[in-house]
Symmetry: C2
Subunit: 200 residues, 2 copies
């Protein structure tokens, strides 16, 4: 029953910050949820904001692994898109609250945005955008494709789904395989649509 107080704080803070955001949670609330004295937040993390940064760093580490693994692989542009999509699902399984934090930071940036989140987003955006650019240049995709727009679209398809999952969980029938099914259909539609595009 005697977990490390630091770890207990990180675990409780992950849930609370994900649910309510940085400003929406008090240190009393955090300490109570972690069964720990509130003074320990300053002791271990230098304050509430330090704890928040600590949570984000922990959450981003599995995502960083996938980004590092990207560099090792030589894949065709469509394969790179598929790899990105599967990585998002995989990261979300490992860190179910990561997307929530990213969206909180996009909607209401804290100082953690510039410190941690922005770097991650730029890396990811660059990767996806490059896959679309290469794919258009190499004939996989329509030559008129704007790779920046395409990257934003695909990111929207992936991220929005996980953002609203707390809501859709009540609507969509109970099915543990929703994530994979959704992503498979969405990516197939997008890759199919990108192949031959008819501008009006």
């Amino acid at each position: 029953m005697e977990k490390d107080s630091r770890a207990k704080l990180l675990a409780a803070a992950t849930l609370l910050f994900a649910e309510k955001g940085l400003v929406g949670v008090s240190i009393r609330e955090l300490a109570e949820a972690a069964n720990v004295n509130s003074a320990l937040i300053s002791y271990y993390f230098g304050g509430k904001e330090g704890l928040y940064i600590g949570v984000l760093e922990e959450l981003f580490s599995p995502a960083a692994k996938f980004l590092d693994a990207f560099a090792e692989l030589t894949l065709t542009p469509p394969e790179r898109i598929q790899y990105y999509a599967k990585a998002v699902v995989s990261v979300h399984k490992k860190s179910p609250y990561l997307m929530k934090f990213v969206h909180n930071e996009l909607a209401n940036p804290t100082l953690a945005f510039a410190v941690i989140v922005e770097k991650y987003i730029v890396r990811l955006y660059t990767f996806v955008r490059q896959a679309f650019a290469d794919g258009a240049a190499e004939g996989y995709f329509n030559a008129d494709l704007d790779p920046s727009y395409a990257a934003i679209s695909l990111a929207g398809i992936m991220n929005f789904y996980f953002l609203i999952r707390p809501i859709t969980d009540h609507i969509l029938a109970a099915d543990a395989q929703h994530d994979e099914k959704y992503v498979r259909q969405a990516v197939n539609i997008y890759l199919n649509g990108v192949r031959r595009i008819n501008y009006e």
Copy 2:
């Protein structure tokens, strides 16, 4: 120079709440930005949360008009999707902060979510989902299409773009026509992709 204090509060609150969310703004901050005494927030709106609701009601009124107009029209499923996409752009032009509020509510729901936002989202989701369901049944789209997933994907494509516009405005070259261009490409890709889908 003598605008109505109520209107000045609504205008200032729209900007501040959009930027920082309900909990991120204090009544003193709101009053100062509006050049109005802070006691007037309680006088006109019964408190900070009442002001927040007032802002949301004002922002949602143009969106509601488009939803009402939907009912009048008889369009094919692909046309309905196009209509939805154009409506999103149009609403965003009229109420540039609406999407920000929607995303704030999705990420960190306040009591305004159940009161205002949820109804709007459900109406919109139902409309888009039905368009995909009809389109699949009538042979416009692939018969295997899951209309719920498709609706979420399309909503993600549209909403995510407007959510991150504050960031992309710095990256994408200055071009006032980005919104239309983005939406045109994104919807064309999606409609093209949905037409003939190849499951692996």
